[in-house]
């Protein structure tokens, strides 16, 4: 599983990075979305992989922390998801506005000079 997941992170990151480096605003925003998937999975992965043991506790009694997934990276990812959602939305609106004002969807708001 570790190998698959790390490969997945790599593919998501590579696709995202490639898009982020493209000249069209829409490519960049899709790239940022893919990148944030990769990063979320990466943060999550720092808690190691645990199958079928979500950090949902019994009410009281002894608790063996090693039997459950590390909850902290999960909490961090949750915050990160929300924040990157918000900023992606903002970026989207800005690129719409940029397109409206400049008439192009190039990231530099002007077509590349040949």
């Amino acid at each position: 599983m570790e190998g698959v997941l790390s490969g997945a992170i790599g593919v998501l990151a590579a696709s995202g990075i490639w898009l982020v480096l493209r000249p069209r605003t829409f490519q960049v925003i899709v790239g940022l979305c893919l990148l944030s998937y990769a990063v979320n999975l990466f943060i999550f992965a720092t808690g190691r992989l645990v199958l079928g043991a979500p950090p949902i506790m019994p009410r009281g009694g002894f608790i063996d922390p090693t039997a459950y997934a590390d909850p902290l990276p999960q909490a961090l990812v949750l915050t990160a998801i929300v924040i990157s959602f918000a900023t992606t939305a903002l970026f989207l609106v800005v690129l719409i506005a940029s397109r409206g004002l400049t008439g192009t969807d190039h990231v530099d708001a002007q077509e590349r000079e040949p």
Partner: protein
């Protein structure tokens, strides 16, 4: 072949079959050719994943995947409806 292993095999088969279904749907999604094909494939992918949630929950013995399945069934619907409406009207909200 005890019922025990049979169930286990069935679970494994179900997982693989659903994952395969997802793969096929993805192929259609990539191949297109028209936008409506892609949306249709995405809808199928959502369903396959929703079912995979349930089967995996059973296999892992954890009931906590149910919410995810519920949310994907509702959310997937909204997502595909939005995509379909975009195709139909050229606008999402008018």
């Amino acid at each position: 072949m005890t019922p025990d292993t049979l169930l286990w095999l069935a679970l494994t088969y179900a997982q693989i079959a659903l994952a395969l279904a997802a793969c096929l749907a993805t192929l259609r999604m990539v191949r297109g050719p028209r936008a409506q094909d892609r949306v249709l494939a995405l809808d199928a992918l959502y369903i396959a994943i929703m079912l995979l949630f349930l089967v995996t929950g059973l296999r892992l013995g954890t009931p906590f995947l149910f919410e995810a399945a519920l949310v994907i069934s509702v959310g997937g619907f909204v997502a595909t409806v939005t995509l379909a409406k975009f195709l139909l009207r050229g606008e999402v909200i008018e």
